[in-house]
Symmetry: C2
Subunit: 219 residues, 2 copies
Protein backbone atom coordinates (compact mmCIF):
# COMPACT_ATOMS: atom_id res chain seq x y z
CA UNK A 1 0.00 0.00 0.00
CA UNK A 2 2.68 2.41 1.07
CA UNK A 3 4.69 1.68 -2.08
CA UNK A 4 1.73 2.40 -4.34
CA UNK A 5 1.11 5.60 -2.42
CA UNK A 6 4.72 6.72 -2.80
CA UNK A 7 4.48 6.03 -6.53
CA UNK A 8 1.32 8.11 -6.70
CA UNK A 9 2.96 11.02 -4.89
CA UNK A 10 5.94 10.79 -7.23
CA UNK A 11 3.60 10.86 -10.23
CA UNK A 12 1.85 13.88 -8.71
CA UNK A 13 5.20 15.66 -8.39
CA UNK A 14 6.09 14.79 -12.00
CA UNK A 15 2.77 16.14 -13.25
CA UNK A 16 3.31 19.41 -11.41
CA UNK A 17 6.74 19.70 -13.04
CA UNK A 18 5.18 19.09 -16.48
CA UNK A 19 2.56 21.74 -15.79
CA UNK A 20 5.23 24.18 -14.64
CA UNK A 21 7.27 23.50 -17.81
CA UNK A 22 4.25 24.36 -19.94
CA UNK A 23 3.81 27.61 -18.00
CA UNK A 24 7.51 28.36 -18.47
CA UNK A 25 7.22 27.92 -22.25
CA UNK A 26 4.01 29.95 -22.30
CA UNK A 27 5.42 32.98 -20.51
CA UNK A 28 8.75 33.10 -22.31
CA UNK A 29 7.06 32.67 -25.70
CA UNK A 30 4.45 35.29 -24.81
CA UNK A 31 7.25 37.68 -23.85
CA UNK A 32 8.95 37.23 -27.22
CA UNK A 33 5.63 37.54 -29.07
CA UNK A 34 4.92 40.77 -27.22
CA UNK A 35 8.26 42.42 -27.85
CA UNK A 36 8.73 41.29 -31.47
CA UNK A 37 5.07 41.44 -32.56
CA UNK A 38 5.24 37.80 -33.60
CA UNK A 39 1.72 36.64 -34.40
CA UNK A 40 2.62 32.95 -34.82
CA UNK A 41 4.23 32.82 -31.40
CA UNK A 42 1.32 34.69 -29.83
CA UNK A 43 -1.16 32.23 -31.30
CA UNK A 44 0.88 29.25 -30.16
CA UNK A 45 0.70 30.49 -26.56
CA UNK A 46 -3.05 31.06 -26.82
CA UNK A 47 -3.61 27.59 -28.29
CA UNK A 48 -1.36 25.86 -25.74
CA UNK A 49 -3.26 27.21 -22.73
CA UNK A 50 -5.92 24.51 -23.12
CA UNK A 51 -3.22 21.94 -22.35
CA UNK A 52 -2.34 23.70 -19.10
CA UNK A 53 -6.02 23.87 -18.14
CA UNK A 54 -6.54 20.19 -18.94
CA UNK A 55 -3.52 19.24 -16.86
CA UNK A 56 -4.91 21.22 -13.94
CA UNK A 57 -8.13 19.18 -14.15
CA UNK A 58 -6.22 15.91 -14.33
CA UNK A 59 -3.93 16.69 -11.40
CA UNK A 60 -6.84 17.90 -9.28
CA UNK A 61 -8.78 14.74 -10.02
CA UNK A 62 -5.74 12.65 -9.12
CA UNK A 63 -5.43 14.55 -5.82
CA UNK A 64 -9.05 13.82 -5.00
CA UNK A 65 -8.52 10.14 -5.85
CA UNK A 66 -5.46 9.99 -3.59
CA UNK A 67 -7.46 11.56 -0.77
CA UNK A 68 -10.26 9.03 -1.27
CA UNK A 69 -8.18 5.91 -1.73
CA UNK A 70 -5.19 6.55 0.50
CA UNK A 71 -6.68 8.78 3.18
CA UNK A 72 -3.28 10.32 3.76
CA UNK A 73 -2.46 12.00 7.05
CA UNK A 74 0.14 14.42 8.37
CA UNK A 75 2.76 15.45 5.84
CA UNK A 76 1.34 13.29 3.02
CA UNK A 77 -2.01 15.01 3.39
CA UNK A 78 -0.37 18.41 3.26
CA UNK A 79 1.48 17.42 0.08
CA UNK A 80 -1.79 16.57 -1.63
CA UNK A 81 -3.59 19.70 -0.40
CA UNK A 82 -0.60 21.82 -1.41
CA UNK A 83 -0.65 20.25 -4.89
CA UNK A 84 -4.30 21.25 -5.23
CA UNK A 85 -3.33 24.82 -4.38
CA UNK A 86 -0.35 24.88 -6.70
CA UNK A 87 -2.30 23.74 -9.74
CA UNK A 88 -4.59 26.72 -9.23
CA UNK A 89 -1.59 29.09 -9.20
CA UNK A 90 0.02 27.44 -12.21
CA UNK A 91 -3.24 27.53 -14.16
CA UNK A 92 -3.54 31.24 -13.39
CA UNK A 93 0.08 31.84 -14.47
CA UNK A 94 -0.79 30.14 -17.76
CA UNK A 95 -3.80 32.44 -18.15
CA UNK A 96 -1.64 35.49 -17.55
CA UNK A 97 0.85 34.36 -20.21
CA UNK A 98 -2.11 33.86 -22.53
CA UNK A 99 -3.40 37.38 -21.79
CA UNK A 100 0.01 38.80 -22.71
CA UNK A 101 -0.08 36.84 -25.99
CA UNK A 102 -3.59 38.16 -26.63
CA UNK A 103 -2.39 41.76 -26.30
CA UNK A 104 0.42 40.97 -28.77
CA UNK A 105 -2.08 39.45 -31.20
CA UNK A 106 -4.52 42.33 -30.83
CA UNK A 107 -1.89 44.93 -31.78
CA UNK A 108 -0.27 42.91 -34.57
CA UNK A 109 1.37 43.96 -36.90
CA UNK A 110 2.24 46.81 -34.53
CA UNK A 111 4.11 46.19 -31.28
CA UNK A 112 1.92 46.68 -28.22
CA UNK A 113 4.71 48.15 -26.13
CA UNK A 114 5.82 51.65 -27.16
CA UNK A 115 9.47 51.84 -28.20
CA UNK A 116 10.83 53.75 -25.17
CA UNK A 117 9.35 51.19 -22.81
CA UNK A 118 10.66 48.11 -24.58
CA UNK A 119 13.77 47.79 -22.37
CA UNK A 120 11.65 47.82 -19.21
CA UNK A 121 9.26 45.21 -20.58
CA UNK A 122 12.17 43.12 -21.85
CA UNK A 123 13.50 43.06 -18.29
CA UNK A 124 10.05 42.20 -16.97
CA UNK A 125 9.42 39.34 -19.40
CA UNK A 126 12.93 38.03 -18.68
CA UNK A 127 12.22 38.10 -14.94
CA UNK A 128 8.90 36.32 -15.47
CA UNK A 129 10.52 33.61 -17.60
CA UNK A 130 13.27 33.22 -14.98
CA UNK A 131 10.75 32.92 -12.18
CA UNK A 132 8.85 30.22 -14.09
CA UNK A 133 12.07 28.30 -14.75
CA UNK A 134 12.93 28.49 -11.06
CA UNK A 135 9.52 27.19 -10.07
CA UNK A 136 10.08 24.15 -12.28
CA UNK A 137 13.49 23.51 -10.72
CA UNK A 138 12.16 24.13 -7.22
CA UNK A 139 9.43 21.54 -7.84
CA UNK A 140 12.05 19.10 -9.11
CA UNK A 141 14.76 19.62 -6.52
CA UNK A 142 13.14 21.26 -3.46
CA UNK A 143 16.30 23.37 -3.31
CA UNK A 144 15.12 26.15 -1.02
CA UNK A 145 17.74 28.62 -2.25
CA UNK A 146 15.54 28.90 -5.32
CA UNK A 147 12.66 30.12 -3.20
CA UNK A 148 14.75 33.10 -2.09
CA UNK A 149 15.68 33.78 -5.71
CA UNK A 150 12.02 33.66 -6.71
CA UNK A 151 11.23 36.24 -4.03
CA UNK A 152 14.03 38.41 -5.42
CA UNK A 153 12.70 38.00 -8.99
CA UNK A 154 9.31 39.04 -7.75
CA UNK A 155 10.79 42.16 -6.14
CA UNK A 156 12.40 42.92 -9.50
CA UNK A 157 9.04 42.52 -11.21
CA UNK A 158 7.38 44.82 -8.66
CA UNK A 159 10.02 47.49 -9.11
CA UNK A 160 9.86 47.32 -12.90
CA UNK A 161 6.08 47.42 -12.70
CA UNK A 162 6.28 50.61 -10.63
CA UNK A 163 8.69 51.99 -13.23
CA UNK A 164 6.17 51.47 -16.04
CA UNK A 165 3.79 53.81 -14.24
CA UNK A 166 6.37 56.53 -13.66
CA UNK A 167 7.36 56.33 -17.35
CA UNK A 168 3.77 56.76 -18.50
CA UNK A 169 3.33 59.68 -16.10
CA UNK A 170 6.45 61.57 -17.18
CA UNK A 171 5.71 64.92 -18.84
CA UNK A 172 7.51 63.81 -21.99
CA UNK A 173 5.20 60.80 -22.39
CA UNK A 174 3.60 61.06 -25.78
CA UNK A 175 1.69 57.77 -26.06
CA UNK A 176 -1.93 57.29 -26.99
CA UNK A 177 -4.50 56.08 -24.44
CA UNK A 178 -4.37 52.63 -26.08
CA UNK A 179 -0.68 52.43 -25.26
CA UNK A 180 -1.32 53.43 -21.66
CA UNK A 181 -3.95 50.68 -21.40
CA UNK A 182 -1.62 48.06 -22.89
CA UNK A 183 1.31 49.06 -20.69
CA UNK A 184 -0.93 49.07 -17.61
CA UNK A 185 -2.48 45.67 -18.32
CA UNK A 186 0.64 43.84 -19.46
CA UNK A 187 2.55 45.27 -16.50
CA UNK A 188 -0.17 44.06 -14.18
CA UNK A 189 -0.19 40.58 -15.76
CA UNK A 190 3.56 40.23 -15.28
CA UNK A 191 3.40 41.53 -11.75
CA UNK A 192 0.66 39.02 -10.86
CA UNK A 193 2.65 36.26 -12.53
CA UNK A 194 5.42 36.93 -10.02
CA UNK A 195 2.96 36.93 -7.10
CA UNK A 196 1.69 33.48 -8.04
CA UNK A 197 5.24 32.18 -8.32
CA UNK A 198 6.00 33.48 -4.83
CA UNK A 199 2.87 31.82 -3.50
CA UNK A 200 3.99 28.46 -4.96
CA UNK A 201 7.53 28.92 -3.65
CA UNK A 202 6.25 29.67 -0.13
CA UNK A 203 4.03 26.62 -0.14
CA UNK A 204 7.00 24.43 -1.08
CA UNK A 205 9.15 26.01 1.61
CA UNK A 206 6.41 25.36 4.13
CA UNK A 207 6.13 21.72 3.05
CA UNK A 208 9.87 21.16 3.17
CA UNK A 209 10.62 23.00 6.40
CA UNK A 210 7.29 22.36 8.12
CA UNK A 211 7.16 26.00 9.18
CA UNK A 212 5.41 28.96 7.62
CA UNK A 213 7.67 31.71 6.34
CA UNK A 214 4.53 33.79 6.25
CA UNK A 215 1.56 32.88 8.42
CA UNK A 216 -0.89 34.03 5.76
CA UNK A 217 0.56 31.67 3.18
CA UNK A 218 0.30 28.39 5.01
CA UNK A 219 -1.52 25.66 3.15
CA UNK B 1 -18.84 10.37 14.99
CA UNK B 2 -21.17 11.22 12.14
CA UNK B 3 -22.95 13.84 14.27
CA UNK B 4 -19.71 15.58 15.16
CA UNK B 5 -18.74 15.53 11.52
CA UNK B 6 -22.05 17.06 10.45
CA UNK B 7 -21.57 19.77 13.05
CA UNK B 8 -18.10 20.45 11.70
CA UNK B 9 -19.36 20.73 8.13
CA UNK B 10 -22.10 23.09 9.31
CA UNK B 11 -19.51 25.21 11.07
CA UNK B 12 -17.43 25.23 7.89
CA UNK B 13 -20.44 26.45 5.91
CA UNK B 14 -21.11 29.18 8.50
CA UNK B 15 -17.51 30.35 8.35
CA UNK B 16 -17.66 30.59 4.57
CA UNK B 17 -20.81 32.70 4.89
CA UNK B 18 -19.06 34.99 7.38
CA UNK B 19 -16.10 35.33 5.02
CA UNK B 20 -18.41 36.10 2.13
CA UNK B 21 -20.23 38.74 4.19
CA UNK B 22 -16.92 40.46 4.92
CA UNK B 23 -16.10 40.44 1.18
CA UNK B 24 -19.56 41.85 0.45
CA UNK B 25 -18.99 44.73 2.87
CA UNK B 26 -15.51 45.30 1.49
CA UNK B 27 -16.53 45.59 -2.13
CA UNK B 28 -19.60 47.73 -1.58
CA UNK B 29 -17.70 50.07 0.75
CA UNK B 30 -14.77 50.23 -1.68
CA UNK B 31 -17.20 51.14 -4.47
CA UNK B 32 -18.62 54.02 -2.44
CA UNK B 33 -15.14 55.16 -1.39
CA UNK B 34 -14.07 55.16 -5.04
CA UNK B 35 -17.00 57.10 -6.40
CA UNK B 36 -17.31 59.63 -3.57
CA UNK B 37 -13.58 60.01 -2.75
CA UNK B 38 -14.28 59.02 0.85
CA UNK B 39 -10.94 58.49 2.59
CA UNK B 40 -12.41 57.08 5.81
CA UNK B 41 -14.35 54.43 3.95
CA UNK B 42 -11.33 53.57 1.81
CA UNK B 43 -9.18 53.13 4.89
CA UNK B 44 -11.79 50.98 6.60
CA UNK B 45 -11.75 48.57 3.64
CA UNK B 46 -7.95 48.43 3.65
CA UNK B 47 -7.86 47.79 7.41
CA UNK B 48 -10.60 45.14 7.28
CA UNK B 49 -8.80 42.99 4.71
CA UNK B 50 -6.61 41.47 7.42
CA UNK B 51 -9.77 39.97 8.93
CA UNK B 52 -10.65 38.28 5.63
CA UNK B 53 -7.11 36.94 5.31
CA UNK B 54 -7.15 35.62 8.88
CA UNK B 55 -10.47 33.90 8.29
CA UNK B 56 -9.05 32.23 5.18
CA UNK B 57 -6.22 30.82 7.29
CA UNK B 58 -8.64 29.59 9.95
CA UNK B 59 -11.04 27.94 7.53
CA UNK B 60 -8.19 26.29 5.64
CA UNK B 61 -6.75 24.94 8.87
CA UNK B 62 -10.19 23.64 9.86
CA UNK B 63 -10.48 21.90 6.47
CA UNK B 64 -7.13 20.20 6.99
CA UNK B 65 -8.20 19.11 10.47
CA UNK B 66 -11.44 17.66 9.11
CA UNK B 67 -9.47 15.77 6.45
CA UNK B 68 -7.11 14.40 9.12
CA UNK B 69 -9.64 13.51 11.78
CA UNK B 70 -12.69 12.50 9.75
CA UNK B 71 -11.08 11.15 6.59
CA UNK B 72 -14.21 12.04 4.66
CA UNK B 73 -15.05 10.30 1.39
CA UNK B 74 -17.31 10.90 -1.58
CA UNK B 75 -19.45 14.02 -1.33
CA UNK B 76 -18.15 15.01 2.13
CA UNK B 77 -14.61 15.01 0.80
CA UNK B 78 -15.63 17.17 -2.14
CA UNK B 79 -17.32 19.61 0.24
CA UNK B 80 -14.09 20.05 2.18
CA UNK B 81 -11.91 20.33 -0.94
CA UNK B 82 -14.38 22.80 -2.45
CA UNK B 83 -14.26 24.88 0.73
CA UNK B 84 -10.47 25.05 0.42
CA UNK B 85 -10.88 26.37 -3.12
CA UNK B 86 -13.58 28.84 -2.21
CA UNK B 87 -11.57 30.47 0.57
CA UNK B 88 -8.86 31.19 -1.99
CA UNK B 89 -11.39 32.90 -4.28
CA UNK B 90 -12.98 34.86 -1.43
CA UNK B 91 -9.59 35.97 -0.16
CA UNK B 92 -8.72 37.19 -3.64
CA UNK B 93 -12.05 39.03 -3.91
CA UNK B 94 -11.19 40.76 -0.64
CA UNK B 95 -7.81 41.76 -2.09
CA UNK B 96 -9.46 43.20 -5.17
CA UNK B 97 -11.84 45.27 -3.03
CA UNK B 98 -8.80 46.44 -1.08
CA UNK B 99 -7.01 47.43 -4.32
CA UNK B 100 -10.02 49.52 -5.33
CA UNK B 101 -9.95 51.23 -1.93
CA UNK B 102 -6.21 51.86 -2.36
CA UNK B 103 -6.81 53.64 -5.66
CA UNK B 104 -9.46 55.79 -3.94
CA UNK B 105 -7.05 56.61 -1.12
CA UNK B 106 -4.19 57.39 -3.51
CA UNK B 107 -6.23 59.96 -5.43
CA UNK B 108 -7.90 61.54 -2.39
CA UNK B 109 -9.11 64.33 -2.17
CA UNK B 110 -9.70 63.95 -5.91
CA UNK B 111 -11.94 61.23 -7.32
CA UNK B 112 -10.02 58.54 -9.17
CA UNK B 113 -12.71 58.02 -11.78
CA UNK B 114 -13.09 60.89 -14.27
CA UNK B 115 -16.54 62.47 -14.20
CA UNK B 116 -17.85 61.16 -17.56
CA UNK B 117 -17.05 57.60 -16.56
CA UNK B 118 -18.68 57.73 -13.12
CA UNK B 119 -22.01 56.24 -14.34
CA UNK B 120 -20.22 53.23 -15.87
CA UNK B 121 -18.19 52.63 -12.72
CA UNK B 122 -21.28 53.12 -10.55
CA UNK B 123 -22.94 50.31 -12.54
CA UNK B 124 -19.82 48.18 -12.19
CA UNK B 125 -19.46 48.63 -8.44
CA UNK B 126 -23.20 47.95 -8.06
CA UNK B 127 -22.85 44.73 -10.05
CA UNK B 128 -19.85 43.69 -7.96
CA UNK B 129 -21.71 44.35 -4.70
CA UNK B 130 -24.71 42.42 -6.03
CA UNK B 131 -22.57 39.49 -7.05
CA UNK B 132 -20.98 39.38 -3.58
CA UNK B 133 -24.40 39.48 -1.92
CA UNK B 134 -25.58 36.65 -4.12
CA UNK B 135 -22.54 34.56 -3.26
CA UNK B 136 -23.40 34.93 0.43
CA UNK B 137 -26.98 33.89 -0.19
CA UNK B 138 -25.91 31.04 -2.46
CA UNK B 139 -23.63 29.75 0.29
CA UNK B 140 -26.49 30.00 2.79
CA UNK B 141 -29.31 28.56 0.70
CA UNK B 142 -27.73 26.57 -2.15
CA UNK B 143 -30.48 28.06 -4.31
CA UNK B 144 -29.06 27.39 -7.76
CA UNK B 145 -31.10 30.15 -9.41
CA UNK B 146 -28.61 32.49 -7.80
CA UNK B 147 -25.76 30.85 -9.70
CA UNK B 148 -27.40 31.80 -12.99
CA UNK B 149 -27.88 35.36 -11.71
CA UNK B 150 -24.21 35.51 -10.73
CA UNK B 151 -23.23 34.45 -14.25
CA UNK B 152 -25.48 37.23 -15.59
CA UNK B 153 -23.91 39.77 -13.21
CA UNK B 154 -20.50 38.68 -14.42
CA UNK B 155 -21.57 39.22 -18.05
CA UNK B 156 -22.71 42.70 -17.03
CA UNK B 157 -19.32 43.35 -15.46
CA UNK B 158 -17.53 42.10 -18.59
CA UNK B 159 -19.63 44.32 -20.86
CA UNK B 160 -19.15 47.39 -18.67
CA UNK B 161 -15.44 46.63 -18.50
CA UNK B 162 -15.27 46.57 -22.31
CA UNK B 163 -17.16 49.87 -22.30
CA UNK B 164 -14.53 51.54 -20.11
CA UNK B 165 -11.94 50.84 -22.82
CA UNK B 166 -14.07 52.19 -25.66
CA UNK B 167 -14.73 55.34 -23.60
CA UNK B 168 -11.04 55.93 -23.01
CA UNK B 169 -10.32 55.36 -26.70
CA UNK B 170 -12.96 57.76 -28.01
CA UNK B 171 -11.50 60.74 -29.86
CA UNK B 172 -13.15 63.16 -27.42
CA UNK B 173 -11.38 61.51 -24.47
CA UNK B 174 -9.45 64.23 -22.69
CA UNK B 175 -8.11 62.44 -19.61
CA UNK B 176 -4.55 62.36 -18.35
CA UNK B 177 -2.47 59.16 -18.45
CA UNK B 178 -3.04 58.75 -14.70
CA UNK B 179 -6.76 58.59 -15.32
CA UNK B 180 -6.30 56.00 -18.04
CA UNK B 181 -4.23 53.91 -15.62
CA UNK B 182 -6.82 54.19 -12.84
CA UNK B 183 -9.72 53.37 -15.15
CA UNK B 184 -7.82 50.40 -16.59
CA UNK B 185 -6.82 48.98 -13.21
CA UNK B 186 -10.08 49.51 -11.35
CA UNK B 187 -11.98 48.11 -14.33
CA UNK B 188 -9.76 45.08 -14.29
CA UNK B 189 -10.17 44.60 -10.52
CA UNK B 190 -13.96 44.64 -10.84
CA UNK B 191 -13.92 42.33 -13.81
CA UNK B 192 -11.74 39.82 -11.93
CA UNK B 193 -14.01 40.13 -8.90
CA UNK B 194 -16.85 38.85 -11.08
CA UNK B 195 -14.71 35.98 -12.41
CA UNK B 196 -13.97 34.76 -8.89
CA UNK B 197 -17.65 34.94 -7.97
CA UNK B 198 -18.51 32.81 -11.02
CA UNK B 199 -15.86 30.31 -10.05
CA UNK B 200 -17.39 29.98 -6.55
CA UNK B 201 -20.90 29.73 -7.97
CA UNK B 202 -19.88 26.94 -10.37
CA UNK B 203 -18.21 25.00 -7.58
CA UNK B 204 -21.40 25.17 -5.52
CA UNK B 205 -23.51 24.10 -8.50
CA UNK B 206 -21.17 21.18 -9.04
CA UNK B 207 -21.41 20.15 -5.40
CA UNK B 208 -25.19 20.40 -5.33
CA UNK B 209 -25.90 18.77 -8.68
CA UNK B 210 -22.92 16.44 -8.77
CA UNK B 211 -22.27 17.45 -12.38
CA UNK B 212 -19.91 20.00 -13.86
CA UNK B 213 -21.53 22.90 -15.69
CA UNK B 214 -18.07 23.50 -17.08
CA UNK B 215 -15.53 20.70 -17.19
CA UNK B 216 -12.67 23.10 -16.49
CA UNK B 217 -14.24 24.25 -13.25
CA UNK B 218 -14.78 20.96 -11.51
CA UNK B 219 -13.29 20.73 -8.07
Amino acid sequence: MRTIFTAELTQLGDDLVTMSQLVETAVSTAGTALLTADLTLAESVIAADAKIDALEGQIDERCIQILVKQQPVARDLRIVVTALRMTASLERMGDLAQHIAEVARLRYPATAIPEPMVPTFAEMTDAAARVARRITTLLETHDLELAAEIEADDDTLDNLHAKTFTSVLEPQWYGAPQEVIDVTLVGRYLERFGDHAVSIARRIVYLVTGGATDARRRI
